[in-house]
């Protein structure tokens, strides 16, 4: 659909840009994505290159973020670690959306026993704490970043099933969907052309918040040794090895911790801004 005149998308963008914290969040997110993509060019050193002459050196001109217990550059490892975190956040939530939204739409629009079955399974999965389920799945799949991402994707999908189902149920009861039916739309067109575009805003908001959760989950899994495997860098595994040197070399924990804090905060701020910008109550006027 082209954005002519005053499209809903354009008005939402305008409202989003008025939201300062959200724009700040967006900028930080963009910076981290760029850091992840451009790590090989931005990084001052090879993140895997050890050096026996530079073990646990505090931040200096040569090593801005200091070096770790194997003499590796912490800045380089934080930059490369962004790859694992952003991939875990963005990719696993994308997969979760691809799994959850079609299933939720199907449940909401089909109704009957299909709906009852899907809704109960989603509720059962949601009743288990997010991280516990992710840990269990990751342990079952075996320690690797890809497996951790898959575990996070599966764990994050029921929230989208439930959201898409609820929104589809609401949409099914609206006059415009009944009007679309009265015009002769087949069921698949009702779902894809009339329901889906109208439920994207809340899904987008939830996706942003889920990315923040997924980044924490990836860090936690890596911290436990279930995610990114050494020596490849990940913020979570960096924190794990940093805990032994917390008093002698606090920079080992501070920089990856700060990165996690910043990126999670940024995604949450962005999500809040999106929610305000896409609020249906702002749609009229």
């Amino acid at each position: 659909m082209s954005a002519t005149a005053d499209s809903p998308a354009r008005r939402a963008l305008r409202r989003f840009l008025r939201h300062r914290l959200a724009v700040f969040g967006l900028l930080v997110v963009v910076l981290f994505i760029l850091a992840a993509l451009l790590a090989p060019w931005l990084s001052p050193a090879d993140p895997l290159q050890t050096s026996w002459t530079a073990i646990r050196k505090p931040p200096s001109a040569a090593h801005w973020f200091g070096t770790d217990e194997n003499g590796r550059d912490v800045l380089a490892r934080v930059l490369y670690g962004a790859r694992a975190s952003m991939a875990a956040g963005v990719l696993s939530v994308s997969v979760a959306l691809l799994i959850g939204v079609p299933i939720g739409l199907l449940a909401g629009l089909a109704g009957g026993w299909v709906d009852a079955l899907i809704a109960r399974i989603a509720d059962a999965m949601l009743s288990v704490p997010f991280l516990i389920l992710a840990i269990a799945l990751a342990a079952f799949l075996g320690p690797a970043l890809e497996n951790a991402m898959l575990a996070i994707a599966i764990t994050a999908s029921p929230i989208f099933v439930r959201l898409a189902r609820g929104m589809a149920l609401d949409a099914r009861a609206t006059d415009w969907v009944e009007a679309a039916r009265a015009l002769g739309n087949p069921p698949w067109r009702l779902g894809l052309v009339h329901v889906l575009p109208n439920i994207i805003p809340p899904l987008l908001v939830q996706a942003t918040l889920s990315i923040a959760e997924a980044i924490i989950a990836e860090a936690s899994l890596s911290f436990l040794g279930l995610g990114q495997q050494p020596p490849a860098p990940s913020w979570g595994s960096m924190l794990n090895s940093a805990q032994r040197f917390l008093t002698q070399a606090p920079w080992l924990a501070i920089f990856p911790g700060l990165a996690i804090f910043l990126v999670v905060l940024a995604f949450n701020l962005m999500g809040d801004g999106l929610r305000d910008a896409l609020d249906p109550r702002g749609e009229r006027r």
Binding site: M1, T4, A5, D6, S7, P8, T174, D175, W176, E178, A179, A180, R181, A182, L183, G184, N185, P186, R189, H194, P197, N198, E283, R284, R285
Partner: protein, 347 residues
Amino acid sequence: MTAPLLELRDLRKHFPLRDAIGRRRGAVRAVDGVSLAVPRGTVLAIVGESGCGKSTLGRLALRLIEPDAGSVLFEGEDLRALSPAALRARRRDMQLIFQDPFASLDPRMTVGAAIAEPLRLHRITPRAGEAARVAELLERVGLRPEAARRWPHEFSGGQRQRIAIARALASGPRLVIGDEPVSALDVSVQAQVVNLLADLIRDLGLTFVLISHDLGVVRHIADRVAVMYLGSLVEEGPADALFAAPRHPYTRALLAAVPGRGIKAPPIEGDVPSPIAPPAGCRFHTRCPHAEAICRTEPPALTGGAHLAACHLQDRLPPAPPLREAEPGGDRLRRLQSFFQPAGSDA
């Protein structure tokens, strides 16, 4: 008389009520055995209080909801016998206009896309001629062709209803059902939209079913009127005859309730009984000033030739008092128009 365009035979729709664990606990008898015929090129109004089942009846007639029993014949063909795909194809011939123009247009579709949708669904106009056809439809309902590029939220209620009308007319339907098409609009706009509908019905030779509780509007455009009470018809007849000499006490009470009407029927008391457990016998007997013993036990049949009423006492009722104004609805509309339209532009 030729075969009616739309014919409803003993339609029934009960919405089951369930308790917390899904056991059936009675049902709302929304439509309980309604038979009606709508001849080609006529306007039938279905009137009644809110909750009497008139909107449900409209949706049953288009098979937007499935009836529990009875049949819907459209051009002699039973809609209930059609496959889902055949029914979808049939929808180009029968359309619905909704009450709330703020809810009936997809907020994420431009006006042009909304009006073009039926053209595409039924492959009516080639893509190249689509824009021209949309512009033509917009002009037909009194909007500028530029409106096609804009979004529903940019329009007022009256304009949105015109858009919804254009969308309903796009596929060239033979039957249009208007479910309270003007009740949600400002009074100043109602008259304009009613006149637009009247013009379209005349010019396009539409068969129109008007579901309404506004007897002024009904009087203005209906050829026949059917009165519903608690899911059943209580009276049906030519509009002139029904307004001049209502034969059912409920119809008299409805007419008496119109502000400014001169008719002096005894007022009805109490609330509408629950459609979950409608009264035995005549459903109106709990509120009827004339009710006798038979009314409490025997459900009355709809009888009386061209002007039907379902009342045991219809031949013994005191004659309906005459109306004070010959044409109250039309008069009200004319007053409204003179108020809101520039002088001389009155149609």
